[in-house]
C-alpha cells in the first residue's frame, strides 16, 4: 500500500511535467517566433527581430512573407532602408542581410525568396570583392544565433527550438504577453531591422584603429592564378548568373560595395592589389552579358572612398552611403556597361595604384559624424 503511494509520487511528477511540457510546446508552436512550423500570424503577434536573428529568421521571412523587391547581401547591406528603396523603385521591399555571407548563402536566400515570389521585380544585392573566389556554400561560423532546419527525424531539434531560453523568454513569451495586452501586431520594419548605422563613430580614428597593417607599403604585386580564375568563374556562374537566367523578369541590381581607400591600401601592402583588380575585371566580364543584371560600382569615386569620414572601419561605410547608392542605382548612375567598364577599371587602377595612402593617417576626424558635401549635393 505504502509502495503504491511512492510510485504514485513518480506518476504525479510525470503527469505535472508532461502537462507543463505540452503547454510550453503548444505555446511555442502557436507563436512560432522563427516561423519554423507555419507562416507568421501577423494579425495576432508582433514579430520583432534584431541583428542576431538574421540567419535564423531570414529564410523564414523569404518563405512566408510576399514581396516585390529584396535587398540582400553581407553587412554592407544592413544599413539600407527598405522605405527608401520603395520610394525610388515604387515596389514593396524587404531587407534580408546575411553578415559575412559568401555568394552561395546569399544565392540560397535569394532563391527561396524567388520561389515564393516568382514575379519579384527587383533584387538589390552586394557582391563583396573579398568573396569573389570563396566558393563554399556556407559561411564560416560568425557567432550568429543559427538554428538548423527542423526535421522530425531529430525530435530533440524541436525541443531545442521550443524550449530554447533565448527564444522562449526573449521572444515567445513577450510576444504572447504583448498580444494578450492588445499591443501592436505585425513585423519589425525593414528599415530598422539589422540597422547599426547609429551605433558607431565614423572617421579616420575609427578606420585606422581597425586596420590590420600598421603602415602602408608597395611590395611586388601578385597576379590572379588559374585556380582563382576557375573558382571565380564557378562562383559567379552558380551563385549569381544562374538565378538571373532562371528568373529573367527579375532585375538584379548588383553592386560592388565601395570599400575605403584604407582597404585598397591594405591590399597593396599585402601585394594583392593587382590580383584584386584582375579578379574584378573577370567578374564584370562574366556578369555584363546578362541583360537583367545591372552591375554598379563606385570604387573610382575618390570623394567617397578616400574620405574616411564615410567609414567606421576599412570596409563598412556610413548609412548615408547606403542611401546615396540606392539613389544612384535608381538613376542608373555608376552602372557598368560593355562600353564603359574598361575606362572605369582604368580609372580605378590609377586611383589605387598611385594614391598616397600615407596621407590617410593625416586625415582630419571632426567631432561627430559628418556627411560630406559630396553626398548632400
Amino acid at each position: 500500500m505504502k509502495k503504491e503511494k511512492k510510485w504514485g509520487w513518480l506518476r504525479l511528477l510525470l503527469g505535472v511535467f508532461l502537462v507543463l511540457f505540452a503547454l510550453i510546446a503548444a505555446v511555442g508552436w502557436y507563436v512560432d517566433p522563427y516561423m519554423r512550423y507555419h507562416a507568421p500570424r501577423l494579425d495576432k503577434f508582433y514579430y520583432f527581430y534584431a541583428s542576431e536573428d538574421e540567419r535564423a529568421v531570414n529564410p523564414a521571412i523569404a518563405r512566408y512573407i510576399p514581396t516585390e523587391g529584396l535587398i540582400t547581401g553581407t553587412s554592407m547591406t544592413e544599413n539600407f532602408k527598405a522605405s527608401e528603396a520603395e520610394q525610388l523603385f515604387d515596389v514593396p521591399f524587404q531587407k534580408l542581410p546575411l553578415p559575412g555571407a559568401f555568394f552561395g548563402e546569399v544565392s540560397d536566400l535569394l532563391e527561396t525568396t524567388l520561389q515564393t515570389n516568382p514575379d519579384m521585380k527587383i533584387a538589390v544585392r552586394s557582391l563583396d570583392m573579398y568573396n569573389f573566389d570563396k566558393t563554399e556554400d556556407c559561411t564560416p561560423e560568425n557567432g550568429a544565433f543559427y538554428l538548423e532546419p527542423l526535421s522530425w527525424k531529430d525530435p530533440f531539434a524541436h525541443v531545442q527550438y521550443l524550449f530554447n531560453q533565448d527564444l522562449l523568454y526573449g521572444k515567445t513569451l513577450p510576444m504572447l504577453l504583448n498580444a494578450l495586452g492588445g499591443g501592436q501586431t505585425g513585423i519589425t520594419d525593414f528599415d530598422s531591422y539589422c540597422y547599426w548605422g547609429h551605433m558607431y563613430d565614423y572617421g579616420a580614428n575609427s578606420v585606422l584603429a581597425a586596420m590590420t597593417v600598421q603602415e602602408f607599403s608597395n611590395p611586388e604585386q601578385a597576379h590572379m592564378t588559374r585556380e582563382e580564375e576557375a573558382a571565380i568563374r564557378d562562383n559567379v556562374e552558380r551563385n549569381v548568373r544562374a538565378l538571373a537566367e532562371q528568373y529573367p523578369n527579375t532585375q538584379f541590381y548588383c553592386f560592388f560595395p565601395p570599400y575605403s581607400a584604407a582597404w585598397w591600401g591594405t591590399r597593396q601592402s599585402n601585394g594583392v592589389l593587382t590580383r584584386q583588380l584582375e579578379q574584378e575585371r573577370l567578374v564584370i566580364e562574366l556578369l555584363l552579358p546578362c541583360e537583367n543584371i545591372h552591375l554598379f560600382s563606385w570604387n573610382a569615386e575618390k570623394q567617397l572612398t578616400c574620405d574616411l569620414n564615410n567609414y567606421m572601419d576599412t570596409i563598412h561605410y556610413a548609412p548615408w552611403v547606403n542611401s546615396w547608392m540606392l539613389e544612384q542605382m535608381a538613376a542608373g548612375k555608376g552602372r557598368l556597361t560593355p562600353e564603359n567598364y574598361g575606362s572605369y577599371l582604368e580609372a580605378e587602377r590609377i586611383l589605387y595604384e598611385t594614391f598616397d595612402y600615407g596621407g590617410l593617417f593625416d586625415q582630419e576626424d571632426p567631432l561627430g559624424n559628418t556627411i560630406s558635401d559630396f553626398f548632400e549635393n
Partner: protein, 480 residues
C-alpha cells in the same frame, strides 16, 4: 553526453533506469552489461577518439592487472609500468605543450610537440585506473570479474567528472542483495537530488558565468572585478557541485551510492577546512595515494609541510597545464601550511572573521584559477585593490541577467523594481546565492520527502531547467 542536455534528460536517463531494472529481472549480468554498453554509448557522444582512448586505457590496465595476478615476481615493476603508462598518456594529451614551453625556455629555443584534443574526463578516468591498479597490486581486487572491472571503469555517472571512487566502494553496491529491485524511495530521492543539481548548474552556474567573464574585461572597475570574482566563485561551485548532485542522484536511482564531493565548502573557517569540504574525493585520492605513502604527518613537521606542498602542486598541475595552476596549487599549499602553523594562535579569533578571511582567500585564488597567465592575475588583483573606479556600469548589470531574468524583470511589478535599481536586483542575486551557500542544507545531507508537494515542485523545477538550458554551456571541470 552531458547531464544538462535535453537528450539526456528526456531519453538517456529514463532509458537507463528503466532498461537497467527491466533487464535486472533477468539477472544481474544482463543489467550490468547493459550499463557498461550504455555508458560507452553515452561517452561516445563526446567523440569516437575519446572513446578509443578510454577503451585502450581500460584494456591496457586490465591486461596489466591480469599479468600482475599471474606473475610470481616483479609485481611492483608491473605496477610502476602501469602507473607510468597512465601518467604518460595523461602527459601526452594534457602537458606536452606546457612541457615544450618549459624545456624551450630552458634551452632557449622553440620546442613544438604534437597537440591532441583533450578527451572528456581523461584526468578522472586515468586516476581511477591507477587506483584500480594499486588495489590490484595490494590484492584488493581478488574475486572481481571482468564485468566488475568494466563496470567500475565505465560507470557513466562518475566517468566524466567524478566523484573519484575506489573500486570496492563502488562494486559493493552492484553486489547488494536488493540492488536489482527498483526502489521507489530511492528513485524519488535520486530524481529530486538530480533536479536540484540541474538547477544549480542551469539556473545558478550559468547565470554567474557571464559576469565572471568580466575578470578579463579591461574596462572593468574595482567593484565590478570584485563582483566578477565572486561570480566565478559561485559559478565554479554551483557548476561542479551541481554536476556531483546530478551524478549522485542519477546513480541513486540505480541503487548505486556514489561518495560525496562537497560539504558546503564556502562555510569553511580555514583553508584546510575548505579542502576537507571541496572536491573531497580528489583530496581523498591524493591523501591516500601520495600524502600517506610519503609519510603524511607522521614524520615530523617539516616533512608534513613538504608533503602538503607536494600534494597541492600535483593537484594544481592535475587541474591544468599552465603556470597559473602550478601557482594556484602552491599558494593553496602555502596557506594550508600557514593554517597548520598558526592553528593554536587562532583559537580566540571570531568564526565570522575566520570565515571572511577564508572566503576572500579562496576567491582571490579562484581568480588565478581562471586566468590565462600569472601576469593577468596580478593585473586583476592590482585593479581590484587600486579602488580607482568604484562604480557598477550598465553593461555589467546587463551581463548579470539571463534571458529568463530579463523576461522576469520586464513583467509588470518587477519592471519597476529593475527600473528603481538594477544594481539592487543584481546585488540581491549575489546576496541570495551567498545565503544559499551559507544557509541552505547541503544536498547530500537533505532528506528528500516523498509527498505531492515535492512531486509538483520537482516537476516545476525540471521544466524550468529545461527551458533555461543553454546548448553551449559546458561544465567548468570538463576542461580538466
Amino acid at each position: 553526453m552531458q547531464f544538462n542536455s535535453a537528450s539526456f534528460l528526456l531519453l538517456a536517463m529514463p532509458a537507463a533506469v528503466i532498461g537497467y531494472f527491466l533487464l535486472g529481472k533477468l539477472g544481474r549480468k544482463p543489467a550490468q552489461i547493459f550499463l557498461v554498453l550504455g555508458s560507452l554509448v553515452l561517452y561516445a557522444q563526446g567523440g569516437w577518439k575519446g572513446l578509443c582512448l578510454l577503451c585502450c586505457s581500460i584494456a591496457g590496465n586490465g591486461l596489466l592487472c591480469l599479468w600482475m595476478k599471474k606473475a610470481a615476481k616483479g609485481r611492483r615493476a608491473i605496477l610502476w609500468l602501469g602507473i607510468l603508462m597512465h601518467v604518460g598518456v595523461l602527459v601526452a594529451y594534457k602537458y606536452l605543450d606546457f612541457a615544450g614551453e618549459i624545456f624551450g625556455n630552458l634551452l632557449g629555443r622553440t620546442l613544438q610537440f604534437p597537440q591532441f584534443a583533450l578527451p572528456l574526463g581523461i584526468s578522472f578516468f586515468t586516476f581511477q585506473q591507477i587506483s584500480y591498479l594499486v588495489d590490484a597490486y595490494q590484492g584488493k581486487t581478488e574475486g572481481n570479474t571482468a564485468l566488475d572491472y568494466l563496470l567500475y571503469s565505465t560507470y557513466f555517472p562518475k566517468l566524466l567528472m567524478g566523484p573519484i571512487v575506489r573500486q570496492d566502494a563502488l562494486l559493493v553496491w552492484f553486489r547488494a542483495e536488493k540492488g536489482m529491485e527498483a526502489d521507489s524511495d530511492r528513485i524519488a530521492a535520486g530524481l529530486q537530488r538530480f533536479v536540484y543539481g540541474l538547477f544549480k548548474k542551469v539556473i545558478l552556474a550559468d547565470l554567474f558565468s557571464n559576469p565572471a567573464t568580466w575578470l578579463k574585461a579591461p574596462e572593468a572597475t574595482s567593484v565590478e572585478l570584485i563582483l566578477a570574482a565572486m561570480a566565478y566563485g559561485f559559478q565554479i561551485y554551483f557548476d561542479f557541485s551541481g554536476y556531483t548532485d546530478m551524478a549522485c542522484g542519477f546513480s541513486e536511482m540505480l541503487n548505486i551510492r556514489l561518495p560525496e564531493n562537497f560539504r558546503s565548502p564556502y562555510q569553511a573557517l580555514s583553508m584546510r577546512d575548505f579542502w576537507k569540504r571541496w572536491h573531497m574525493t580528489l583530496t581523498g585520492f591524493f591523501t591516500e595515494y601520495i600524502y600517506i605513502p610519503l609519510g603524511g604527518s607522521r614524520k615530523g613537521s617539516l616533512r608534513t609541510y613538504f608533503n602538503t606542498m607536494l600534494v597541492f602542486l600535483i593537484s594544481g598541475l592535475w587541474h591544468g597545464a599552465n603556470w597559473t595552476f602550478v601557482l594556484w596549487g602552491a599558494l593553496n599549499g602555502a596557506l594550508c601550511i600557514f593554517d597548520r602553523l598558526t592553528e593554536k594562535y587562532r583559537k580566540h579569533i571570531h568564526p565570522a572573521f575566520s570565515w571572511m578571511v577564508t572566503f576572500c582567500a579562496v576567491n582571490v585564488l579562484w581568480i588565478l584559477f581562471q586566468a590565462d597567465s600569472v601576469g593577468q592575475w596580478l593585473e586583476c588583483i592590482r585593479s581590484i585593490f587600486s579602488f580607482e573606479k568604484m562604480s557598477v556600469g550598465g553593461k555589467f548589470l546587463a551581463a548579470s541577467v539571463t534571458p529568463a531574468l530579463n523576461f522576469l524583470f520586464a513583467l509588470p511589478g518587477f519592471r519597476s523594481l529593475w527600473a528603481f535599481s538594477g544594481k539592487l536586483c543584481v546585488f540581491c542575486l549575489f546576496g541570495g546565492s551567498l545565503a544559499l551557500c551559507l544557509g541552505a542544507r547541503n544536498t547530500a545531507e537533505r532528506t528528500y520527502a516523498v509527498n505531492w508537494r515535492t512531486a509538483v515542485w520537482t516537476a516545476i523545477l525540471l521544466i524550468l531547467c529545461l527551458t533555461c538550458m543553454n546548448g553551449n554551456a559546458v561544465f567548468v571541470y570538463n576542461g580538466f
